[in-house]
């Protein structure tokens, strides 16, 4: 369970203090799928980063399984991330000098997984890229890179998966496959999903949808539960 209470985020800019998030309260249950929507620049990515423990809020608390990660030091948060969190970045973050397969396998290898490459291969297959495993990111299109990034996030089978615009670069058909994958993971492994998306369809498949506007949570509604 993730619980965020009274989160605000301020950054100092040359033009004075900028308030990106303002008193955000949020609770996500285990196995729940949550969609965060809102206009560009409203603070979605920032919120996601804070929930995942990649960043600290200026005020407020974030608890993962009732452990206050905002009170931890960076090493403590790192341990929490290692244990619970997977992340799909808005800008993919593939390493250019690694092949698709190595990119997917890297987090597994770091964990000491002996079958890292096999697992990585399997997940690449699931995103429809098994034929391209030996290609470098620069040889892949934006959508293909996105799928490699997803395969990488799936492969380490996290308890909570944060995804920033996971289907933003994909055509409808591939997007649909990826969405199916996301929810399959959510269902089969009980993975908690927290997504940022502009897409109505994707948002509607989530259990719940919250809307950010200028750093404030303005709207929270339960979506139609997804039928299996």
């Amino acid at each position: 369970m993730i619980e965020a209470s009274h989160i605000s985020k301020e950054v100092a800019t040359s033009a004075g203090t900028l308030r990106i998030l303002d008193d955000v309260n949020l609770k996500v249950d285990d196995g729940e799928a949550l969609a965060i929507v809102g206009p560009s620049g409203s603070g979605k990515s920032t919120l996601l980063g804070i929930l995942a423990g990649l960043d600290l809020p200026s005020a407020g608390q974030v608890r993962i399984n009732s452990e206050d990660i905002t009170a931890m030091d960076e090493e403590g948060r790192a341990a929490m991330r290692a244990r619970y969190v997977g992340f799909v970045f808005q800008s993919f973050q593939l390493l250019p000098s690694l092949t698709a397969l190595e990119n997917v396998a890297l987090p597994l290898e770091l964990r000491g997984d002996a079958h890292a490459l096999e697992t990585a291969r399997r997940f690449l297959e699931r995103v429809g890229l098994d034929a391209r495993w030996h290609h470098y990111p620069r040889q892949l299109s934006g959508g293909e890179q996105q799928r490699v990034a997803l395969a990488r996030a799936f492969a380490s089978q996290p308890k909570i998966l944060f995804a920033d615009e996971p289907t933003g670069n994909l055509d409808t058909v591939t997007g649909e496959t990826i969405n199916n994958l996301l929810f399959q993971l959510n269902r089969e492994a009980g993975t908690t999903l927290i997504l940022v998306t502009h897409e109505r369809v994707l948002a509607s498949r989530c259990h719940r949808r919250v809307e950010l506007q200028a750093g404030r949570l303005v709207h929270s509604e339960a979506a139609m539960p997804v039928n299996s």
Partner: protein
């Protein structure tokens, strides 16, 4: 394992090439130098322990009194006598002025002779070691004598009246340092054949040596008995004394090599730092990603330490291997100067190389990577996150400290470390100061010129730090290379030119008064003309201002140890200049003025300086046992280029005439009249002929070998300079790619961008060349003044070729290296950002 995997992937991605290359270069430069120095040092130290071929040695210009031998026998001291002299040796129609050494059977008393039955043997399995001299009737000779006399081993050669069979070649003698000698090839013969040869006549210039060996006590006993009996022309040598000069020579050689090596290491270090900086930028994304996955800072640090260590080990090992190869090449290049039989190196050079590699990484690579473990995972989310780098100043300081540590390790001397550091700082300042001004000037010029020029020169100025680093690296390496090439070609040429075509090329020394008329007639019969006869008397300086010179002074000055040629003349000889004091004719009537038996003396200025003699100093001379005093009334400089006899010490007429005198002269002997030397020596075997043409040839060979060796070192240093350039360019590569892509999407042609880049690099190269030319000119000026005493002369070739070659080299390398900024499609570049 993970670390190795990451390392391999970075390597595959081409991000480590420059780091690795720089590291290998640093290790190669140091290892090759260290290996060479170590092996030569070992060879010389090994030799010097039996440097005398005995425990002690007496050297004299006369034969040893038999009383000394008897006494030695009584006191249980082993002795061996030997005689060294120059003599013409013949085989068929060929002849050579050899340095002959006649030894008793038991020579050497200490150490061994290394011989071979294969001329010019270099492989240890072809060597034999013996502890005795050649038997009567045989001669052992230097390999190079065989081609000189057109003979083979087993053939006969004549020394004076005796005919000896050359049975083996000499590889090494314990009491001869190095194989290099300015004089003739060695002929080793038995003492018993000496009398029969008849080459030694009264007045012949022979160096007699008595070798002594015994237990410590016996020897000390004997020496304390012997010492009071030594006359002025006898000199006792113990091994310590023999080694003193050697240690100094070794230290000087090592110092010189160190200087060359450290410049290479510093350049490689700069390249390493730049390349590591570039690598670190590339690793930022990886580390941020790892951290977002929850990899702890400790693990990240460990991963990068391990990668650095593996890289360091691999680079150092490759560097050691290549260093070995380079040092073998160096040995081949300078072989004439080295002992033939170099012992295997010890572990120290290897350790030095390895430590250099690891220290370089520590000092130059790690600081650039230091911030990585502390990197915030937020960097994955926000590209503009400020990254806490180790500051440039601090990195520079760390680099300097590491260089200082390495210098200290190599030299084991704080003073020298500081001197080299100071020299490096001075070089950097003298290159960067003018470089900065020139870059500014260029930018101003560029602003007035066409757009391509403006862009190119503007770029240089915008990336001026990179430009300056590149300038410093390239200019210093190029300056050294140019200096060496000029020394070999131009200076030696100039020197040859100064010697007129028919300048005297032979000296005839040691001509006795009764032989003078005969030698003159022989010359006339052969239509040869000498420069005139100079009479001289052989004597030595025993006291300076009434005091015996200090032992230190005697040790460091050959002139105080041996007999000098004293001469007289009423006229100031041609080419001599009185620097201080006055020539005889301005002294008025000086007979008896300075006291009974005191003569005015004129001394050469370098000798005066070395032995601490000034105007008004009193010198006491010993000539054939008689002493008399002289007062220094003038100090002269000499002109050696004329190849006429020069004398360090001159008297007015009327003082030396009462002593037994000998005569010398010099003459020009055309190549086809060389056999005249044989004729002369057959009739007058005690005359000493110095073949100046041979000596000059040997010097030329020696200088050219040394410069060849140094040129190889310099090429390595230039290689380090190229690495600096490539890493500096690589740092700006992203920027270049982006600029070029944007320019091209805006409609600029690839050709135009290429033109801008060629201009940019070409201009930088030309600047380096210009700075290098001025540096080389300065170095040449100093060298010319100090070593060759030639007047200053501009080397136009330097000023023309320097900038041109620099522009071509840097331009070509730069354009080649950055060409992908034109070849890669702009879309790919921009979308990859």
């Amino acid at each position: 394992m993970m670390a190795l995997k990451l390392l391999w992937r970075s390597w595959r991605g081409g991000q480590l090439g420059l780091i690795f290359g720089s590291l290998v270069m640093a290790v190669v430069v140091v290892t090759s130098v260290a290996l060479l120095a170590d092996r030569v040092e070992r060879a010389l130290v090994k030799e010097s322990s039996n440097f005398l071929a005995a425990d002690a040695q007496v050297r004299s210009s006369r034969e040893m009194p038999s009383q000394w031998l008897v006494e030695a026998y009584d006191r249980g001291v082993m002795t061996a006598e030997m005689a060294l002299f120059a003599s013409m040796v013949y085989s068929g129609d060929y002849n050579h002025l050899a340095s002959v050494k006649a030894v008793q059977d038991n020579y050497p008393l200490r150490g061994v002779l290394t011989l071979s039955e294969t001329p010019f043997a270099t492989k240890p399995e072809q060597f034999q070691q013996v502890d005795h001299g050649p038997p009567p009737g045989e001669a052992w000779v230097d390999s190079r004598l065989l081609p000189l006399l057109n003979m083979n081993l087993g053939d006969r050669l004549d020394v004076g009246e005796v005919s000896l069979r050359a049975t083996r070649v000499i590889v090494e003698e314990p009491d001869r340092g190095g194989s290099f000698s300015l004089f003739g090839a060695r002929v080793l013969m038995n003492w018993e054949d000496l009398a029969a040869s008849g080459v030694i006549q009264p007045g012949s210039r022979v160096n007699y040596r008595l070798l002594l060996a015994a237990g410590d006590d016996d020897l000390a006993d004997y020496l304390s008995w012997l010492e009071p009996q030594l006359a002025v022309h006898d000199r006792l040598l113990s091994p310590d004394e023999a080694q003193a000069g050697l240690t100094e020579t070794l230290a000087q050689g090592r110092r010189f090599l160190l200087l060359a090596g450290s410049l290479g290491v510093v350049l490689a270090g700069i390249a390493l730092a730049l390349a590591s900086r570039h690598f670190a930028v590339g690793q930022t994304a990886t580390v941020a990603l790892l951290k977002s996955w929850g990899v702890s800072a400790r693990r990240v640090r460990a991963l990068y330490w391990q990668q650095t260590l593996w890289l360091g080990l691999a680079g150092s090992l490759l560097g050691l291997a290549l260093g070995w190869v380079i040092h073998e090449v160096l040995i081949v290049l300078v072989r004439e100067l080295l002992p033939v039989n170099l012992p295997a190196p010890g572990w120290r050079p290897w350790l030095t190389g390895l430590a250099t590699g690891l220290l370089c990484l520590l000092g130059f690579a790690l600081p650039a990577l230091w911030h990585l473990p502390a990197l915030s995972p937020l960097v994955v989310l926000r590209r503009d996150m400020p990254v806490q780098l180790v500051g440039a100043i601090r990195r520079l300081l760390i680099g300097v400290v590491v260089v200082a540590a390495m210098l200290l390790w190599y030299s084991q001397s704080l003073a020298m470390t500081l001197a080299v550091l100071g020299g490096l700082a001075l070089t950097a300042a003298t290159v960067m100061g003018p470089g900065w001004l020139l870059l500014r000037l260029l930018r101003h010029l560029g602003n007035r010129a066409g757009s391509v020029w403006r862009l190119a020169l503007g770029n240089l100025w915008r990336r001026r730090v990179q430009s300056l680093v590149l300038l410093a690296g390239f200019a210093s390496a190029m300056a050294i290379l140019m200096t060496l090439v000029m020394i070999r070609t131009s200076l030696l040429e100039e020197w040859r030119w100064q010697l007129a075509e028919d300048a005297p090329n032979h000296f005839l020394v040691n001509v006795a008064p009764h032989e003078l008329a005969g030698v003159e007639k022989l010359l006339a019969d052969n239509q040869l003309q000498s420069v005139g006869w100079y009479a001289m008397v052989r004597g030595r300086i025993t006291l300076i201002d009434g005091q015996p010179p200090s032992e230190e002074l005697v040790d460091s000055n050959e002139a105080l140890r041996r007999e000098l040629n004293l001469s007289w003349s009423s006229q100031l000889p041609e080419g001599n200049v009185v620097e201080w004091g006055a020539w005889w004719d301005q002294l008025g009537d000086f007979s008896g003025r300075y006291g009974e038996n005191v003569a005015p003396v004129s001394i050469e200025q370098d000798l005066a300086e070395e032995i601490g003699v000034t105007l008004g100093s009193r010198l006491t001379f010993n000539v054939g046992g008689l002493t008399f005093e002289g007062l220094v009334t003038s100090i002269r400089s000499l002109n050696w280029d004329t190849m006429t006899p020069n004398f360090y010490i001159l008297f007015p007429e009327g003082y030396l005439e009462k002593f037994p005198r000998i005569f010398m002269t010099s003459l020009y002997l055309p190549q086809d009249q060389k056999p005249f030397v044989n004729e002369l020596l057959r009739e007058y075997p005690t005359v000493l002929v110095i073949e100046l043409d041979m000596v000059i040839d040997r010097i030329r060979t020696m200088v050219s070998q040394v410069t060849h060796g140094l040129e190889l070192m310099t090429l390595l240093i230039l290689g380090c300079g190229v690495l600096v350039m490539l890493s500096a360019v690589k740092l700006s590569m992203g920027e270049r790619l982006q600029e070029s892509a944007i320019l091209r999407t805006l409609g600029s042609t690839g050709r135009r961008i290429l033109a801008v880049q060629s201009l940019e690099f070409g201009a930088l190269g030309a600047l380096s060349g210009l700075l290098a030319a001025s540096g080389a000119e300065l170095a040449l000026f100093l060298l010319q003044r100090r070593m060759f005493e030639a007047p200053f002369e501009l080397h136009w070739a330097l000023w023309a070729c320097g900038p041109l070659l620099g522009a071509l080299l840097v331009g070509a390398l730069g354009v080649l290296y950055t060409r992908q900024s034109v070849t890669r499609p702009p879309l790919q570049v921009l979308s990859g950002l």
